[in-house]
């Protein structure tokens, strides 16, 4: 594995290998000494063209726990804001010794471009590209589901038959895309619930069936996992939905809807949450919520991803 760009690039074996290794990383993260020497002497750059403090910190902690040197490069206040191209920025960072670039970019495909254009030879990890993908988020979500279901016996397990409902702004969501692809590889059945305005124009999106209302989805699908997506308020001004109140009424996970889920159902959210909009405090703070586990698991999964990409003989 040289790059991680899309969840679709990963075979089932590769996914399981990443998740199983992440199990061991989570053991390390529970130790007093939360450090491994694995990537000693290697340099990892967090190349963030978009603000995302939590994702950046998660990768930074993951890399440091593997003993890599971490450089944070934010587009703001850098030469990028003066019009430097993606190519020049990436080549400059590689010339400074970066072996892996963790890339967050507002343009879909930016990580793909860095991995495939021949501009640089570093490992590329897609930390979110526009409306395309965010594969480490999907991996940590899958890890979290597996852990909730199988506990300490998670190793080697897929998510066969698990029913996952993704709710909200699928159209603009890289989290939804990556999860759809990854969870399907793991054997889960994924369906969508969203206003039609926030589904891709071709409603048969990647073959997933969908509901236009959350109530129908809960009543007909009986999901084991409900994954709420963050709603960007600027979508409202662009008339994707009329008001926050109407969105919340139609697609928010209220206390009442939470109560209608099966009692073992898991409630997930990639964060940051808009409490009272797509998710109620009752749901966010319930025992069924995995929001904080997702954050903690993010570090373990990203350690595993860094290990899988940056160790192993280098082949060209």
């Amino acid at each position: 594995m040289k790059h991680l760009i899309s969840a679709a690039d990963l075979s089932l074996d590769e996914i399981l290998s990443i998740l199983d290794t992440a199990e061991e990383m989570s053991v390390v993260n529970d130790r007093d000494v939360k450090k491994l020497p694995t990537l000693r002497g290697k340099t990892v750059v967090n190349l963030f063209f978009e603000d995302s403090t939590r994702t950046r910190i998660s990768f930074e902690v993951a890399a440091k726990r593997l003993s890599a040197d971490v450089i944070n490069f934010s587009a703001k206040g850098s030469s990028v804001s003066k019009g430097e191209s993606l190519k020049d920025t990436a080549q400059t960072l590689e010339a400074m010794g970066a072996q892996a670039l963790i890339v967050r970019h507002h343009a879909s495909g930016a990580a793909h471009n860095l991995a495939n254009s021949g501009w640089i030879s570093s490992h590329i990890i897609n930390a979110g590209d526009g409306k395309h993908e965010h594969p480490t988020q999907a991996l940590l979500d899958a890890f979290t589901m597996r852990k909730r279901i199988h506990g300490s016996h998670s190793r080697g397990k897929s998510l066969d038959g698990l029913k996952v409902l993704i709710v909200g702004d699928v159209l603009h969501s890289r989290v939804a895309r990556s999860n759809l692809l990854l969870l399907r590889s793991l054997g889960a059945e994924v369906r969508l619930a969203a206003p039609a305005t926030l589904l891709p124009a071709n409603p048969n999106f990647l073959g997933a069936s969908y509901y236009l209302g959350l109530d129908d989805a809960i009543d007909e699908f009986h999901p084991d996992v409900v994954m709420m997506l963050r709603v960007q308020l600027e979508r409202m001004s662009a008339s994707f939905f009329p008001t926050a109140r109407e969105y919340s009424r139609g697609w928010g996970l209220s206390a009442e809807r939470l109560a209608r889920l099966s009692e073992n159902a898991i409630v997930m959210h990639p964060g940051p949450m808009n409490r009272g909009l797509e998710i109620s405090s009752e749901a966010a703070d319930s025992a069924q919520s995995t929001v904080l586990e997702q954050v903690a698991n993010g570090i373990s999964v990203r350690m595993s991803v860094l290990y899988h990409l940056m160790s192993g003989e280098t082949r060209e």
């Binding site: 594995m1 199983d20 061991e24 020497p37 694995t38 595993s304 160790s311 192993g312 003989e313």
Partner: protein
């Protein structure tokens, strides 16, 4: 390629029994003794040695004295081999601090695996002493490491392959040399 059996199933059993005795003798008994196998076949051997000890010393409880130590993340050759899967590390509930710890592996060759194991151990505690038991010592050390308990010394050339097969993970119980 020629294949030659150097240890039969019976030879392996005898070697394990001998190593078990030597460990008890060196440790003056079974107290504070922990065996840690290095995956994959070191774990199998550690369990066999523990059973051999328990046969003679019923007060020895393998379930609280045997574990496994994955050393993958501590290797110094990660860039030279395909990415390895990381496996579980399981320590006995009593931990390793102040224990006499015996690392168990199938073949001692360059010594680099043991070096990585010693590094990994420091993250888990401070044993009173660390010993090394191996089924085969084939020479060619690259580090100042030696085994305390050896099933068989097997001088070999570098391009030969020593293949330890144990029924827990393989079809046969034997050690073969391929050249």
């Amino acid at each position: 390629m020629s294949t030659r059996t150097v240890l039969s199933s019976e030879d392996i059993d005898r070697a394990i029994t001998r190593i078990a005795h030597q460990i008890i003798e060196a440790n003056h008994g079974t107290s504070n003794l922990v065996l840690l196998g290095i995956p994959t076949r070191g774990v199998v051997l550690a369990n066999r040695i523990a059973r051999a000890i328990a046969n003679n010393y019923p007060d020895f409880d393998p379930s609280n004295s045997v574990g496994r130590l994955d050393i993958t993340m501590y290797r110094d050759d990660l860039d030279r081999k395909p990415t390895r899967a990381v496996t579980e590390t399981e320590l006995p509930a009593k931990g390793i601090t102040d224990q006499t710890l015996v690392l168990v592996d199938d073949v001692l060759f360059s010594g680099r695996t043991i070096r990585a194991a010693l590094d990994a151990l420091t993250e888990y505690g401070r044993p009173r002493a660390v010993k090394l038991a191996v089924l085969i010592d084939r020479g060619h050390r690259e580090l100042p490491i030696r085994a305390d308990f050896v099933g068989k010394n097997l001088p070999s050339s570098r391009d030969e392959r020593i293949n330890v097969q144990l029924t827990e993970s393989d079809a046969e119980n034997q050690v073969v040399i391929e050249s």
